[in-house]
């Protein structure tokens, strides 16, 4: 949607919603039983039309801008805010799943008070009374009696917290984030003198080297970096940027690299030093002091090719390819360690990486020190643990926890548990869920979900990005802001409430001046003009040489032998907060295609050496503990490496999280890194033991090999030209030409059937597999838009997942380590085999070429699915359930299917119909790009395009005519309307 239409839609939202949802839950009338009643509905609510409210995503600290769609008072869909500089209208699957935070059936409706072991529901009034009383008491009992631990929150709210605590003569709140980037921050401090997290102008780079930084999964701001990465890496004028990934395991990010160097765990620093050595040899001018230069030379000189290769297990050739690329690169950018491999050497890695960047480009033009990632405010894990340990010595009277779950997320957080459950401390958890931490608290005080509140949160320092209630409230819960205001100096400010406070502060900070500004800001989801980028003025001569020397002298030996376990945050669950969102559980992991479970990924060699089989259940042991998990064979990890995803294995946190998968953090050492204070996500000395049990994997894939079939195709960058040269003509799978699902696609020599006309439009989709990073956001968007049922792990094992669109993962025939992601949905064939076999016309061809599925007509013979070569049809084996209040999210424009009915991707026909209506009103034909299916809308890398194939100017038509375009199994003459563009493999 272009900026203008967007503003039109959003324009009517915001303000009146502000009226609609009074900030004060008590003075305002109780929330309606129905989210809206026709008696007093917000005046901007037009029944049957979605009003979009701009706000900001809080599913992770990145802070993407979102538009929340509201239908009849119900929030039914969130999409990216096109104006927002961070995500430019795109969202990841976690952002899509924010809805299931609001509507989560396990969300607490009222405060719970722990009384003799059990929980007692109390009213908010009571709870608030108790809170005030407790704070008063605590404050009375001396200094620092009231302590607060909060997640990363917006500046305004953080200030307010501090203010409040100061008032109680207590230290400011401790900001806790499980993924705190301690090592990166320390490295930045050491090298750039900035203890912060600058953002990167990745899109301007021509070479990208990441030492594990998984910026497509979770690292800092995945949606933003996915976009920027694709800007530099997508095929553009016959060339594309190069990307090397140095890590013992792939992750989604590594899977998108041109070359993945699987170094030994902990040896990333060695590679980086090796590179340093090579670069220094070039003798380019660097901004470094002679001393440092000399000293670096010394340190690095030890790491010649051979040594690097010996220490890291990377072949000399691969290392040379890396150095060669770096030497030739014009605007290289090197990224440090990822979250997952925060190993004992991660600081050295990050420092070496920073030095590399500094040497390669002394004025760091690809760094942005203005736009720093907000997550930098988080305290280091060491501080967190330290704080809690101190609590053991003198327990505070009152401990406030704002939406944090350290008990789950901190490896070996025994002291935390102790502190929280310490009777001497009265713990209040501001949390909407009974998670591992809040169950230990004395009072659970649900605060409002971010989609229901006024606030301000900026993923980066500037610009401001605002939050507004996108719907009426489901519960009576107040916002944290309002609560705090109540406790701060009486009711002076609480009268106008947190919203007032917020506006006031923004005015005082001159973010806005005047009501109009404010409205504009709220309407657009913030103030998005970026300030002029400043040049980096580092301290002359770079960091202090001694520090560097000392640092590298203590480089730990990489884990050479034995098994090493890495626990990595995943694109689905992040640090674990995603685990209670059914969509995130149901959508399988991009690499393993396993849903609902936490398999332990191992290399075939490891399996052989350990005598294990894929899919059997093993015990993974470390000195910290052990757990049982299914083995998953993959080439995406290096031999000797065990990789598990963080996020599952909750003992509390609701029906979808509890008992699903396992939590590898339990196996990690409790100690934090002495230098950075960061956690260790990698640990050596791991044993695996057979259990003899066969674990049934809940995987959605059959075979990951293509068995010599032409399905997920790749083309070498160098052989791109040949594609245009040789036109295919033949009858077999290998040489069948591409045929358009249009009359001209019919060849009287091959088709028994005469071509049929379409009425003005022939909808089609193009999938650029070179742009697809496999993040699965499209799938999540599809689940949200089309009311797709959640079947649970048992049914997934049975092969009954319902995903209309699933990003299939294939291994490249030439190299099993090279994965190819293939978003697969209904191909809307012109000769769809599914149609004619149905005895009741349930699937048939409509006038615009789409393959309709008429649910009311379907009697469930399932012949269509049998005959579908792409197996993209899904059957309702049961009537799937949406536990209260999840059903409120259901899209009223899409039928909810009941048992015994076949369903499949409809190209979001409801959106097409809407566009038809609009075009009819304005008496015009539908414009190209006007219809945006949910998957296309949210794709961070714009791999998907949708449009009218009959319009020669349309994007999709142009893509269909791209020499890379092909149709899956085209030789069956189904004439699919989904075109795939071959992934471009470049040898680096």
């Amino acid at each position: 949607m272009d900026r203008r239409t967007f503003l039109k839609i959003v324009g009517m939202g915001s303000v009146s919603m502000a009226v609609g949802c009074s900030p004060d839950p008590y003075n305002a009338p109780r929330p309606e039983k129905n989210l809206f009643s026709l008696i007093h509905a917000p005046e901007d609510m037009v029944v049957g039309r979605t009003s979009w409210y701009a706000t900001t995503c809080r599913e992770c600290p990145a802070g993407c801008g979102i538009l929340a769609g509201n239908r009849e008072g119900r929030l039914i869909k969130v999409e990216g805010n096109p104006l927002h500089p961070v995500n430019r209208g795109k969202l990841c699957m976690r952002g899509q799943a924010a809805l299931q935070g609001v509507y989560n059936p396990d969300r607490l409706r009222s405060p719970y008070l722990k009384s003799d072991g059990g929980w007692r529901a109390i009213t908010f009034a009571e709870a608030e009374g108790m809170l005030l009383e407790k704070t008063a008491q605590a404050a009375g009992s001396g200094d620092n009696r009231v302590r607060m631990v909060t997640e990363v929150i917006g500046d305004t709210l953080l200030q307010l917290c501090t203010e409040t605590l100061t008032q109680y003569k207590s230290a400011p709140p401790l900001v806790f984030e499980p993924l705190g980037y301690e090592s990166l921050k320390s490295a930045n401090e050491i090298v750039f003198g900035v203890r912060g997290l600058p953002s990167y102008r990745m899109q301007q780079a021509d070479l990208l080297i990441a030492f594990g930084a998984d910026f497509l999964d979770t690292w800092l701001s995945p949606v933003e970096y996915a976009r920027k990465f694709m800007q530099m890496h997508a095929l553009d004028g016959g060339g594309k940027g190069r990307f090397f990934f140095v890590s013992p395991y792939q992750t989604l990010t590594g899977a998108n690299a041109d070359l993945w160097l699987d170094c030994r765990p902990g040896s990333e620093a060695v590679v980086a030093l090796g590179l340093l050595r090579e670069i220094l040899k070039l003798g380019r001018p660097t901004g470094l002091s002679r001393k440092l230069r000399y000293q670096l030379g010394n340190t690095a000189s030890a790491y010649d090719k051979a040594t690097v290769s010996k220490l890291t297990g990377i072949s000399v050739q691969d290392f040379e390819r890396l150095t060669e690329a770096l030497r030739r690169a014009g605007r290289p950018l090197v990224l440090g360690a990822g979250l997952g491999n925060g190993s004992s050497n991660s600081l050295q890695t990050d420092v070496a990486v920073n030095l590399l960047n500094l040497i390669l480009d002394p004025d760091l033009s690809l760094f942005d020190f203005e736009q720093r990632h907000r997550v930098e405010v988080a305290a280091s894990l060491f501080d967190v643990k330290e704080t809690f340990r101190k609590f053991a010595e003198d327990p505070p009277a009152l401990l406030l926890l704002n939406n944090v779950n350290p008990v789950y997320a901190v490896a070996g957080g025994g002291e935390i548990e102790k502190a929280i459950s310490n009777p001497a401390t009265y713990t209040v958890a501001f949390n909407s869920f009974m998670d591992e931490t809040s169950v230990l608290a004395d009072l659970i005080f649900p605060v409002r979900h971010f989609l229901e509140t006024w606030d301000e949160y900026s993923g980066k320092q500037v610009p401001v990005s605002t939050l507004q209630p996108a719907m009426g409230r489901l519960t009576d819960s107040p916002t944290l802001g309002d609560l705090l205001l109540k406790t701060v100096d009486g009711n002076k400010r609480s009268a106008e409430g947190y919203k007032g406070h917020l506006v006031g502060r923004m005015l005082s900070r001159a973010d806005i001046n005047g009501e109009l500004d404010w409205l504009k800001a709220v309407q657009q989801g913030g103030i998005h003009q970026l300030p002029e980028p400043k040049r980096y003025k580092g301290r002359a001569g770079g960091p202090a040489a001694e520090k560097i020397e000392e640092l590298f002298s203590t480089l730990a030996e990489p884990h050479a032998s034995g098994l090493t376990l890495a626990a990595v945050p995943t694109v689905r669950f992040f640090d674990g907060r995603g685990a209670n969102r059914p969509w995130l559980c149901e959508i399988p992991d991009p690499i393993t295609r396993v849903a609902w479970q936490t398999p332990v990924m191992m290399h075939p060699d490891t399996l052989k050496q350990q005598g294990l089989k894929h899919g059997e259940s093993v015990q993974v042991k470390t000195d910290r503990g052990n757990l049982e998990a299914p083995v998953y064979l993959t080439h995406s990890v290096r031999p000797g490496m065990l990789v598990m995803g963080i996020g599952q294995g909750h003992t509390a946190y609701g029906r979808y999280a509890e008992g699903q998968g396992t939590n590898p953090l339990r196996l990690l050492p409790a100690e934090t890194d002495p230098r950075t204070g960061g956690p260790h996500f990698v640990t050596g000395g791991v044993q695996v033991a057979k259990t003899g049990r066969k674990a049934k994997l809940a995987n959605t894939d059959g075979s990951r090999s293509q068995h010599g079939r032409k399905i997920a195709l790749t083309v070498g960058l160098d052989s791109l030209a040949d594609l245009t040269k040789k036109k295919k003509s033949g009858l077999t799978m290998s040489d069948f030409p591409l045929v358009l699902p249009l009359p001209e696609g019919y060849d009287p020599k091959l088709d028994f059937y005469t071509p049929h006309q379409h009425e003005g439009y022939r909808w089609a989709m193009a999938v650029d597999m070179d742009r697809c990073i496999g993040c699965g956001a499209c799938a999540a968007g599809c689940y949200a838009e089309n009311n797709i049922g959640i079947v649970g792990d048992k049914q997934v094992m049975q092969g009954r997942e319902m995903a209309w669109l699933s990003v299939e993962r294939y291994e490249d025939p030439d190299d099993a380590r090279q994965l190819v992601f293939l978003p697969l949905m209904c191909q809307h064939c012109d000769n769809a085999p599914c149609e004619s076999v149905c005895p009741v016309y349930a699937p048939h061809h409509n006038k615009e070429g789409m393959n309709n599925q008429i649910y009311n007509r379907c009697i469930g013979t399932r012949f269509c699915s049998q005959n579908c070569p792409y197996k993209v049809r899904r059957f309702n084996w049961f009537s799937w359930r949406w536990p209260e209040p999840l059903e409120l999210q259901l899209n009223p424009n899409v039928t909810v299917r009941s048992k015994g009915v076949m369903e499949k991707c409809s190209f979001c026909v409801q959106r097409i119909k809407q566009a038809h209506g609009l075009a009819k009103d304005e008496d015009r034909s539908i414009r190209d790009g006007e219809i945006v299916p949910a998957c296309v809308q949210t794709c961070p890398t714009e791999a998907l395009a949708f449009g009218n194939l009959m319009d020669p100017g349309s994007k999709v038509r142009k893509l269909a005519e791209d020499p890379r375009a092909y149709q899956i199994m085209g030789y069956l003459n189904t004439k699919p309307a989904v075109f795939y563009l071959k992934k471009v493999i470049q040898k680096v």
Partner: protein, 167 residues
């Protein structure tokens, strides 16, 4: 002067045939013959012509063929839905429908033909009928007035059959 029905019952086909011959020559009427099995010898003796039931079958078949195709074509033309890009009126597959209907209606014609021509069901048949005729006896039904009954009985006896007089 009471005429009574007389049935001659024979254990052997050829006896019956002979008796029929005599009876035809004689003045006594030959009402009908019953037999447990179809016997061409007897039909020869009776000089029956070919059954015309085949025409019913044929008509049924033709009607069925038309019906089958008509149904398929009519129904597909109601909405003209395109499936798998196939023509809306797809002759090749419709042949199957046409065929099945042909058989079905032909059979109906066949059955109706028989019922009509041999006037079934009809319970009056069971008057002047001897149950043994469905067993092992060939029955020949004739009738006679009281005085010349002896002759008729004799005729049956002569051909090795027993006679039954229906009172």
């Amino acid at each position: 002067m009471a005429t009574k029905y007389v049935m001659g019952l024979f254990k052997r086909e050829d006896q019956a045939v002979a008796a029929i011959g005599e009876l035809k020559a004689s003045s006594w009427p030959l009402h009908r013959t019953h037999s447990p099995i179809p016997s061409h010898k007897i039909s020869d003796a009776l000089g029956l012509k070919d059954s015309r039931v085949g025409w019913f079958t044929l008509c049924g078949g033709i009607l069925g063929f038309i019906t089958g195709f008509a149904l398929a074509i009519f129904t597909s033309l109601r909405w003209e839905l395109i499936v798998s890009g196939k023509p809306v009126v797809a002759v090749v597959p419709f042949i199957i429908v046409g065929f099945e209907f042909t058989i079905l209606f032909a059979i109906f014609g066949n059955l109706i033909g028989m019922l009509v021509l041999s006037r079934l069901p009809r319970m009056e048949n069971l008057e002047h009928y001897d149950p043994r005729c469905s067993g092992e006896h060939f029955g020949i039904l004739s009738s006679s007035s009281d005085e010349d009954r002896e002759g008729l009985l004799a005729l049956f006896a002569r051909n090795g059959g027993e006679a039954r007089v229906f009172e």
